[in-house]
């Protein structure tokens, strides 16, 4: 890998982010907060560092796939380091905590270390929500354009081109796709802000919540999350947009062009079935064991299920107090996550679907040892290479999960908290169960554990292998 061709690109992204910091600066000016200086300083530092990075001499050889990997994985980590500055400089958090919070933002996780968000200055709150929104944008491009090109975790099946494209060649296509998807993203953001305003939220809160919903992030401006408003209308709006954000954005794009092909997409159907059946199962559990009335049960079950499966992490009830069955159901949903090409995290529905089909084929193969069967999703049959990648991805996902959980228990965390906090950060959900439940935060954990969980968010968001390659010496050779 040639670090010299990677850093200039990262530098450009860092410069772009410094421009993004103008928005919270404006907010600080509007509310006349003393954080104006903090943001000016942050913009200065970030812009200059980005500028110096971008001036590193680039030999014009162009990008190979391997540099693409480095841009994504290193870029994410470096960007987070600068994004953490406002929290750190404003004195809100220590640096490890700031880094945790920012990584949680950029990866659209929503795990927070701030116990009381309501006392924070508005500009900091806006920045916190805004990084999720930027993160969401990054993820969509990553999922639709970059990862398929790098053939990470079987994502190449979403790639229209023949196998083995160069990253150079993708550039124009990437730009085109990205533009369209950003259009969809902006449109949804606009609509949701308006709908929330109608529901009685003020402009500031509705903007923050919208940013976090579309990115399936989950930072709220209230300690009680969406539960604060206790309004079925607001919940319904947020459920709708969380659900939409968990769907492949290409499908939304097609909708805008007038082609409704949601139900032609097998992944969408699978996702819908999983969401509905989880809601039904949880409604029964809540009906018999908690609320005793069907309307409340449906209301809380549908919000919690959508929030967790789309890996948003908003809460309207303290689901840590739900019966064991509902809690484990949520835990399983954390692993499944959203659809590929959405802002959701987790393993992704398409992979789960293909793995299930693969298992069925394995069984069938034992009975008919000589039959050659291909796995089909819709009408396309899945290549063996992609299958292998998906298996590899699944194995990698579970291995990281197990190792991180073991590390946490080694530090004296109880088993439920350990399992759920790793599942929640690796799947980019946010709140877990036990000590890290929806009504508490990650603030009480020790710095080492926070570092482990920060790593989990990073690794989970970049689909495991994009980050894991950094640990192979081969990767660093020029």
């Amino acid at each position: 890998m040639r670090l010299r061709s990677v850093l200039p690109i990262v530098g450009k992204i860092v410069m772009m982010m410094s421009i993004g910091m103008i928005i919270p600066l404006l907010c600080a000016l509007y509310y006349r907060e003393k954080e104006i200086i903090v943001f000016i300083a942050c913009i200065g530092i970030t812009f200059l560092s980005g500028y110096f990075l971008s001036r590193i001499k680039e030999k014009d050889i162009g990008l190979r796939l391997i540099e693409g990997l480095a841009v994504v994985s290193l870029g994410w980590a470096i960007l987070t380091a600068f994004g953490a500055l406002p929290f750190y400089l404003s004195g809100t958090l220590g640096y490890i905590d700031s880094y945790f919070e920012t990584m949680s933002g950029f990866t659209t996780t929503g795990a927070t270390v701030i116990s009381n968000v309501e006392i924070l200055p508005k500009s900091i709150l806006l920045w916190r929500a805004f990084i999720q929104w930027i993160g969401g944008m990054g993820i969509i491009v990553l999922a639709v354009a970059v990862l398929p090109a790098l053939s990470i975790g079987g994502m190449q099946m979403f790639d229209a081109e023949a196998p083995g494209p160069k990253l150079d060649k993708l550039k124009p296509q990437m730009k085109e796709t990205a533009k369209i998807l950003y259009g969809v993203y902006l449109l949804f953001t606009g609509i949701e802000i308006i709908l929330l305003l109608i529901g009685g939220m003020n402009l500031f809160d509705s903007t923050c919540h919208t940013f976090c919903t579309l990115a399936t992030g989950g930072f709220s401006t209230k300690n009680a999350s969406i539960g604060y408003y206790n309004s079925p209308y607001i919940e319904a709006v947020i459920i709708l947009f969380m659900f939409l954000s968990g769907v492949n954005f290409m499908l939304h794009y097609n909708l805008l062009r007038g082609k409704i092909n949601y139900f032609k997409d097998k992944e969408f159907i699978f996702y819908l079935v999983v969401v509905l059946s989880a809601i039904i199962l949880m409604t029964f559990d809540l009906f018999y064991n908690v609320y005793g009335n069907i309307i409340d049960s449906v209301r809380y079950a549908s919000f919690q299920v959508t929030s967790i499966i789309t890996t948003t992490g908003f809460a309207t009830a303290n689901f840590d107090l739900f019966p064991s069955f509902s809690r484990v159901l949520l835990l399983i949903l954390m692993f499944i996550g959203g659809c590929a090409g959405s802002t959701g995290g987790g393993i992704k529905n398409i992979r789960v679907l293909i793995i299930l089909k693969y298992l069925y084929r394995e069984l069938y193969q034992y009975i008919h040892p000589n039959a050659i069967l291909s796995i089909k999703v819709g009408e396309d049959s899945i290549q063996e290479d992609i299958l292998k990648d998906i298996m590899g991805f699944f194995i990698g996902y579970i291995v990281i999960f197990v190792i991180a959980t073991a590390l946490l228990t080694a530090y004296g965390i109880d088993i439920i908290t350990a399992i759920s906090s790793v599942a929640a950060t690796q799947g980019n959900v946010g709140p877990g169960l036990g000590l890290v439940g929806p009504m508490s935060t990650y603030a009480g954990l020790s710095p080492f554990i926070k570092i482990v969980l920060t790593f989990c968010m990073w690794v989970g968001r970049l689909e495991i292998f994009t980050v894991m390659v950094l640990f192979v010496p081969d990767f660093w050779r020029e």
Binding site: L65, I66, L69, L150, S151, I152, G164, S324, F325, R327, V328, L329, I332, I355, Y358, L359, E362, L363, Y364, Y366, I367, H368, P369, L387, K388, D389, M391, G392, F393, F394, I395, G396, I398, V399, V402, T405, A406, T409, A410, G412, I413, D414, I415, I416, A418, F465, T466, M468, V469, V472, D474, F475
Partner: protein, 478 residues
């Protein structure tokens, strides 16, 4: 599937099981117990039913596909006859007796009997003897039948390159089978002698030998091996649990004088290192967090870790009271299990090794997209079929584990009890944590959870696919 030949073979095996009941009968006569007459009755029923099946159903040519039927049906039906002594003696009702008997034949060691010390000796002996019979079956299954059926990547153990017929295997089966039996019997005898020398009575020594070598875990004492509180006895049992959990084909080479075979086998080496790391970390954990002195910690750690990782399930202390980290280590060991050619259950070390290699290959493949990597084990290339089998097995195992845990949760068990009971039964371990800890039993569970756990024991023991093939309608077509 040709049901007739399957039933014919089942008949043969039932005759053997019937005849083997003579041994507990002899113990019963020796101790002048009134329960002896039960065994006369059981022998008659089992033997006669076996003969009946054998006479009515003619043997036809056996194809590979009948292998699944033979293996699964035998493991389902033989325990019914194995349960007869428990039922007829009035100790247990049918479901409990079947649970206990399946737990015996699958060498799990999960018990529903709260106070084993008041049971008649002949019943106790039969209980341990089911382990021993099951153990023999498992070694043959692991080294001969499953590789021929290529279940879960098992074909790796076949000496022949591809697709052997079960017919062709017959002479080979007999030959290898004989050698394995003699090693098995030799180990049992040695262990009995050693335990008698260490001060156990002949009766207890043989019961514990049967259970340790088969990695079962039924004891004749309520406090398991903790009853004796003797380092010497613990040492002997540790040795034989370890031997039971390592591959019998390695023991075979050792008998032929090739002791180096152990050191050349990657699976064996990995198993030893996993044990080493686990013992070390748990010893430290116990020393610091339970404030035991280091020798006692080591003694407890080494026994219970080898007991759990060999999927035996003996205990010298209530490991349910250990700190969370140690319990987590034990839970992971339950999932990993022992080596593939032994009597241990669970995923098996060799599969874990291959899974890691698959993960690593995935990383390398991303760095060098155009290179072709093959995975090697012990210097030999592993074919893609095997790798697919291994990943499929792993995923199936995890999915079954998750679904069964969810079912256990639905029946109102707490989180840790649910996952550990499923991990302990599907892995063939025996005791889990919390309500099913080493000092308690499974007797408190209602019938349906017991049936679920019976299913888990069978699924785990038959390596998932063997049993699941039966659920496919097309399997039953002739």
């Amino acid at each position: 599937m040709r049901v007739r030949s399957v039933l014919h073979i089942l008949g043969q095996l039932l005759q053997i099981v019937g005849l083997s009941m003579i041994i507990p009968l002899l113990w019963g006569l020796y101790y002048r117990e009134t329960e002896s007459w039960i065994f006369i009755f059981c022998i008659l029923i089992t033997f006669l039913f076996g003969t009946f099946l054998k006479l009515v159903f003619e043997m036809e040519d056996i194809r590979l596909i009948e292998g699944f039927g033979v293996v699964s049906l035998c493991w389902i039906i033989i325990p019914i006859f194995g349960a007869l002594p428990f039922i007829l003696s009035g100790e247990l009702n049918f479901i409990d007796a079947y649970f206990e008997s399946i737990s015996g034949f699958t060498t799990t060691g999960a018990s529903v009997i709260n106070n084993v010390e008041i049971l008649p000796k002949c019943i106790l002996f039969w209980r341990s003897f089911t382990h021993w019979l099951g153990g023999i079956g498992i070694v043959v299954l692991a080294l001969i039948i499953l590789p021929a059926l290529s279940v879960g990547g098992r074909q790796i153990f076949l000496s022949e390159p591809s697709g052997p017929k079960l017919d062709k295997l017959k002479p080979q089966v007999r030959e290898v089978g004989k050698i394995i039996y003699s090693i098995y019997i030799f180990f049992t005898a040695t262990q009995i002698i050693l335990l008698v020398l260490a001060g156990m009575s002949l009766f207890d020594a043989s019961c514990h030998s049967f259970a340790a070598l088969a990695t079962g875990g039924f004891s004749t004492k309520n406090a398991s091996i903790g009853f004796y509180n003797s380092p010497l006895i613990e040492g002997i049992i540790i040795l034989f649990m370890f031997l039971g959990a390592t591959s019998f084909s390695l023991h075979y080479s050792a008998f032929k004088g090739k002791f180096k075979a152990y050191l050349k086998d990657s699976e064996f080496l990995l198993y030893v290192s996993i044990l080493g790391i686990a013992i070390l970390t748990v010893t430290l954990d116990l020393t610091y967090n339970l404030h035991e002195n280091i020798l006692l910690s080591f003694r407890h750690a080494i026994f219970n870790i080898i007991s759990i990782s060999s999927t035996t399930g003996y205990a010298t202390t209530d490991f349910n009271l250990w700190p969370d980290f140690s319990r987590m280590v034990l839970l992971l060991l339950m999932l990993v299990g022992g080596c593939a050619g032994g009597t241990a259950g669970a995923i098996k070390v060799i599969r874990i090794l291959l899974l890691f290699k698959i993960g690593l290959r995935e990383i390398y493949r991303i760095i060098h997209p155009n290179a072709f990597f093959s995975i090697k084990l012990n210097g030999k290339k592993i074919s893609e079929d095997v790798l697919q089998g291994v990943s499929g097995f792993y995923i199936f195992y995890m999915v079954t584990f998750a679904l069964c845990s969810l079912l256990m949760l639905i029946f109102g068990n707490d989180f840790i009890t649910s996952i550990s009971s499923v991990a302990a039964t599907i892995g063939g371990v025996g005791p889990g944590f919390n309500l099913v800890g080493p000092m308690t039993t499974y007797s408190f569970l209602p019938s349906i959870p017991k049936i679920i756990l019976c299913f888990c024991m069978l699924t785990g023991r038959l390596e998932v696919f063997t049993l699941f093939v039966l659920f496919s309608p097309s399997y039953w077509k002739e």
